[in-house]
Structures are given as structure tokens and as C-alpha cells.
Symmetry: C2
């Protein structure tokens, strides 16, 4: 195993937190391309240099710390949510830095480090790795705007002459990303490590039921075409029908509901709502889509509703590389014997985009209370070190 | 029967519509205390004078056309919704004017006319009749503000020196109000007249379920406390439990729903929603309240939710006077044999407030498509005349 230094690793993690430290606890506000994000990347570039890596900003603002020759790439992102925690992304970057540093010191395998830009999606979804992975062009990304109307082109220009060219992905043998789980599974089970088997695929679309807006006093129940009642019936039928198709890892959510006119005294004439479902198996996602469309059509007919489907966002599941995953599993068993699991990632990560370029794998450590995207996000430092050691052990084994 | 003149009645109704005529079809925009509302009341006062009635504006802006001595009071309101129709309120005022005029011409029983101010609630709920009925004080109403911040005190001052004192309710033997149904019952059945047995009571409150806001990708279904799912379960359980308690006239509505944070990718942590129910029987309203509170508590416990009940708006049902109602029923059978019904009023009307002062009754004519509070509101003119004739026949019989 590589001689990683837990103290140096945690000191770097706390040092990185100072850029944008805010809110309660260990909160951080370091959105992509903010002054804090740029300062943090300059600091990271300095630490990379000190570790013997060559820093290189790419045109999209992603920062690489390059080892010489062919290397394993490790990292994540160092931007945060507008109200985020100290570990989301930062953990993977600083752990990669420590593994790369320790490996270089020990004459181990060459490891490069990356902090992708705008993973948290000020301008889109995992913007920096999306451009690098070829999921969108730099010109396409330049046209994206944040909520305040700033374009990605303007934002990335803030990096000025730091920016070099794109890094050639063929210099990397694979990509390993450590991340906090951002969910309750490990925290609930007490397990220390999650080795990811797949980043789940997502389907997301809006549906609308359109009935008849009416006076809530003068319209008898049997003459109503109440769009909220249609939505509630749809939800109940869907939960029942999904039961035969889903696994314990499948999730689905109605998170956004807009009734019209949304007034206590008016029978709702329209209900527009989001339907999002995620699973590691693309076939299952498709079967669920069929059930959603069929059920919505049946409910619409039964309730006398018009029905519209919005456009569907679809991201396919990404399977982790068997070889990288196997190395992480062996290392996890050594560091936390019998106390780790294989699990899907329910959230998107930069690894999704990097998978277009090379084999990828991911490692999770627990999130206290399952909380993330919140100032309260945290993980026991002992668990962070267990994650670091697992990474180091896997990298050593991969040689 | 009194010799009412359908042509004169319809001409007056069309003449009144010219004040604020707007939108499509027979639309009207004549909110309380607008220039159009004041001009319409001045025109009405003139028509009252021509009919031998003495016009009197009260301090709240309600316009009475007083017959000499003790009289039957008839009327409704002549203000409209911001986007309203030509009949909501106006019909009852103009029909009353025609009946009063015809009765006076024929030496029939004395009939006074009223157009209450701000029935449509620019400043509250049925403001003019509410003050006259003693449901609120003039000073209390003066403190109410419309959506633009104008006070009721400022608005009623626009009537200037038109305003006299309050009219003594003891000069009236009772109150009869004709109104469009504003619902689909008569239009659906093809019946011409609805004699109201009660103006239903209303209960209205907001409830909140508070669960746990979570990431919609990383939170397994069995660890979720999804407030929308709790709301959907509550709705289903309530519909089932109400079945044993309600009548075909009972209505209940969830018309307002606010999820938090209301985003497709986030398990909703909170659902705040309206629950409104209406019935002619106060005991049934109370039984329904018990079911609502018990069901919400059970669902909250089953789903791990916090539960809050907002304050409850309660208006008790108002039973129509048996004598007045009987006269209307007899007249309805004469004018539309076998083609009328007894029915509750699901909407509030000025009669609710006047019932605090004297016996009241109401008569409905059909609303095409059940539509009201909309430019498209309308009724066949033949049905308007059937309503007028029914009123005239009842007044003659009441002597």
C-alpha cells in the first residue's frame, strides 16, 4: 500500500474549505467560476506543483495535475453548491492529490489529479467534464447562461491566461473518483465504504392532466373533472404497478407539482407535475416509462382528462469498469473487512462523462444523516481516512 | 300574477351591462367602487326613481330603492368580478327592479330593491351586505385593503355625498334574491328553476405534512419521508371515509397544493395544501372535520410526517325561510311544471348576511355550461324570463 499521510490529507481538505467557508458548521459557498472557486483552484494548482505534478487548466476551467507519461487519473470537482458542504467534490480532489503525492514519493504508479469545473451545474449539468468527455462542445457550453444571465463563455474567461489546451485523454489508463455518498445507505447500515457498480440512469419528464376548472362550491362531485384527483389516482396506480418491476435500488419521484389556478375555492383544472425515475438498468428504465405512459393514459380516460407528456430527459446508466471495481473491492475488504457494500450511485458524477473516454470507477464514503447540498453535510474524519486508505491500496494493487 | 314586462326587464339588463362591458361575448369588468360600478349605481338609482322608489346609498355603498311603508326587499349586487359576466348579481337587481315597478304599477304589494356593494369581495367577502347584516362593523371593514393597497374607507369615500345613513332593516318583511346558479346542475338536468333550501356552510383550512427533503437519486424509497406521497395517501383515505358520511350535495376540494422545494430532483420535504368542504348541514360539516383531522393524523403517523393544521374558516349553513321558499316553489311549479328542483346553494350570496336580519330565500336560473366568474358566463334569455315570472308570481302570492 502507498504511504498516504492522513494528517496531510485532512489538513489539505480543511485548507480547501477556507475558500468560500460560510454558513453553519463546515458549510461552503464556492460556486463554479466565483472568486472563491478561482482562488481555490489556484491554491490547488500550487499544491499540485509542490507534489511534482504539472498543473494545467483546460479551456473549460477544469484543472489537471499531470504526472509524467501514462497515468491513472483520479479526482472529482472543487466547486460547490451555492449552499454546500466541505466534502462534495473536494474530498475526491484532495484524496487524489494525497494518493498522487504519496505514490510519487514512494516511487509508485504515476497518478494524475483533476478538479473538473462547474460540476454543480451553475451553467448546465457537470459542465467541465461534460465538455472534456465530448458530451457537448465548448461552443455549445459557451451559450449556456446561469440564473443571473451570465454566459459560460464570460465565466470561463475569468480564468484568463491560466487556460491551456484540452488534456489528451489517451494519456490516462482509467479514472477513479471518491465521493461522499450523499444518501443515507451507508450511514444507516454503518458500513464504511460503498464500491459503485453503476451510476444509475435517469429519465425525467413532466406530465399534465387537463380537466375543467370549476367553482368548488357549486360543482357537484360527480360533475367534476378535478386534475388534482387525477394526479393522486395516477400516483397510487403507478406505485402499485411499479411494485412488479422495480428493485430495492430503483427510485421514482413526483417532486414538482403545479395546480392551476391553485386556489382553495376552485376545482383544479390543470395539474402539471414532474415524474423522475432512476435505475442502473436501461431496460428497466424503459419498462417503467411504458408503465408511466400507459397508466397516465388510463387515468386520463377514467377521469375525463386531457393528457400531455413533456419532452423526456434521458441519461443512460454507466457501468463501472470491472477491473478498477475489483481493485476497489479488494481494497475495501482489506480496510473495512465485512463492512462495505457494492451499491449504485443514485446521483450523477463527473465519472459519467469521463466514462466516454476511459474505464471509470467510484468509491463512496458515508454521509452523516445522508445530508448533502447543505451546510450541514459532513462525514466522520475516520471514515474519510478509511476511504483514502482504500483508494491508496487499490492504486498500489493496480500498479 | 304581477304584470312584469320581459322586454323592459331584458332591456334594463342589457343597459346595465354597458357599464364595464368588456372581454368577449357578454363579459363585464365592474369591480366594486370602480368608475364603472359607481356609474352603474347612479344609473340604477335613476331607474329606481323612475319606478317610484326612493334611492338611498348607505355608508358602505349599498344602493336601496325604497318603497313606502313596510315592504318585501329583493335584489342582489351590481358589482362584478374583475373578469365577470353580465348576470352574476346584475340579474337579481334588475329582476327586483322590474318586479317592484310592475307591482307598483299594478297596485300590488310594495317591493323595495337593493344592490349591495362589493359582493365579489374586492375588500373582503360580500362586504356591503356583511356590514348591513352586522357581520362586521363599518369601522372594521374600513381597515380592509384590496390587492393594490386601497382601503375600504378610501373606496367608499368615492361615493361622496351620495351616501346617507343605514337603512332600517325592520321596514322589510323578508328578502328574496334571484341569481344565476353558477354551477352545472340545472344546465345538466335541463331544469329551469332551482329553489334554494339552504346556502351551504363552508369549512376551509390548510394542512401541512412535513417529512424530509432529500436527493431524489440517492435516497432509497424505503428511507424516504415524502410529503407528496403523504398528501396522495391522505386524499385517497379521505375520499374513502367520506363516502359513508356525505350526500350527493356535499362537496370537498383540495384546490391549493404547495410542495417544498418543488423540484423534480428533490424528494418533497413539505406539502402544504388546502382542504375545503361544504354542506347544508352543520353537523355533517363537523363530522367531516373530525374525519379530516383523524385521517391526517393517521397518515402523518404512518408516513413519519409532522402535521400542522392551519386556522379554520367556518361559515355555517343558512336555511331558507319556509314561507318564502314555499311561495317560490308554488310559483316555480306554475311557470315550469315538473321542470324545477329544490337545491342547495354551493356558493355564498348576500342572502347569507341578510338572514341575520330577516327571513330570506333564493331562486336560481341555469348557467350555460355551469360557467360563471368568466366573460363566457351566460343564460338563455327565455330562462331569465322564466325566473322573472316565477319571482313575480311568488311576490303576488305573498301579497
Amino acid at each position: 500500500m502507498l504511504p498516504v499521510d492522513p494528517k496531510r490529507f485532512l489538513e489539505d481538505l480543511h485548507a480547501l474549505r477556507r475558500f468560500g467557508a460560510s454558513g453553519v458548521g463546515k458549510g461552503v459557498a464556492r460556486p463554479g467560476f466565483s472568486d472563491e472557486d478561482i482562488a481555490a483552484r489556484d491554491w490547488l494548482a500550487g499544491r499540485m506543483s509542490e507534489a511534482g505534478l504539472t498543473p494545467q487548466f483546460d479551456p473549460a476551467g477544469s484543472l489537471f495535475g499531470l504526472a509524467e507519461g501514462r497515468s491513472l487519473l483520479m479526482g472529482s470537482h472543487s466547486d460547490s453548491q451555492p449552499e454546500g458542504g466541505w466534502l462534495d467534490g473536494a474530498l475526491g480532489v484532495v484524496a487524489a492529490l494525497e494518493v498522487a503525492r504519496a505514490s510519487r514519493e514512494a516511487g509508485g504508479p504515476p497518478v494524475s489529479v483533476v478538479s473538473f469545473s462547474d460540476e454543480e451545474g451553475r451553467f448546465g449539468v457537470t459542465t467541465g467534464s461534460s465538455v472534456w468527455g465530448g458530451n457537448q462542445t465548448l461552443e455549445g457550453a459557451d451559450a449556456l447562461h446561469d440564473a443571473q444571465g451570465v454566459s459560460f463563455a464570460e465565466a470561463r474567461a475569468r480564468f484568463g491566461d491560466r487556460r491551456g489546451g484540452f488534456v489528451d485523454p489517451s494519456r490516462f489508463s482509467g479514472y477513479v473518483e471518491m465521493h461522499i455518498e450523499q444518501g443515507p445507505v451507508l450511514d444507516t447500515s454503518g458500513e464504511k465504504i460503498g464500491v459503485v457498480d453503476a451510476i444509475v440512469g435517469i429519465r425525467d419528464m413532466h406530465l399534465s392532466f387537463t380537466g375543467q376548472q370549476n367553482h368548488a362550491g357549486t360543482t357537484p362531485m360527480h360533475l367534476r373533472r378535478d386534475a388534482f384527483q387525477a394526479l393522486a389516482s395516477f400516483n397510487a396506480a403507478l406505485n402499485e404497478r411499479f411494485a412488479n418491476v422495480v428493485t430495492p435500488q430503483t427510485v421514482w419521484t413526483i417532486g414538482h407539482v403545479a395546480l392551476h389556478p391553485n386556489a382553495a375555492s376552485i376545482v383544479p383544472g390543470r395539474a402539471r407535475f414532474s415524474m423522475q425515475w432512476r435505475d442502473g438498468d436501461a431496460d428497466r428504465l424503459a419498462r417503467m416509462e411504458t408503465i408511466i405512459r400507459d397508466t397516465a393514459a388510463e387515468i386520463a380516460a377514467a377521469h375525463g382528462m386531457g393528457l400531455e407528456f413533456g419532452s423526456m430527459l434521458g441519461l443512460d446508466p454507466v457501468t463501472m469498469d470491472a477491473g478498477l471495481r475489483s481493485a476497489l473491492e479488494t481494497a475495501a475488504e482489506a480496510e473495512a473487512p465485512g463492512n462495505w457494500r457494492v451499491m449504485p450511485s443514485g446521483a450523477l458524477h463527473d465519472a459519467t462523462n469521463v466514462a466516454r473516454l476511459m474505464p471509470v470507477s467510484m468509491l463512496f464514503v458515508p454521509s452523516i444523516g445522508g445530508i448533502s447540498h447543505d451546510f450541514a453535510e459532513d462525514t466522520d474524519e475516520a471514515d474519510l481516512v478509511t476511504g483514502l486508505n482504500t483508494l491508496a491500496r487499490a492504486v498500489a494493487a493496480l500498479g
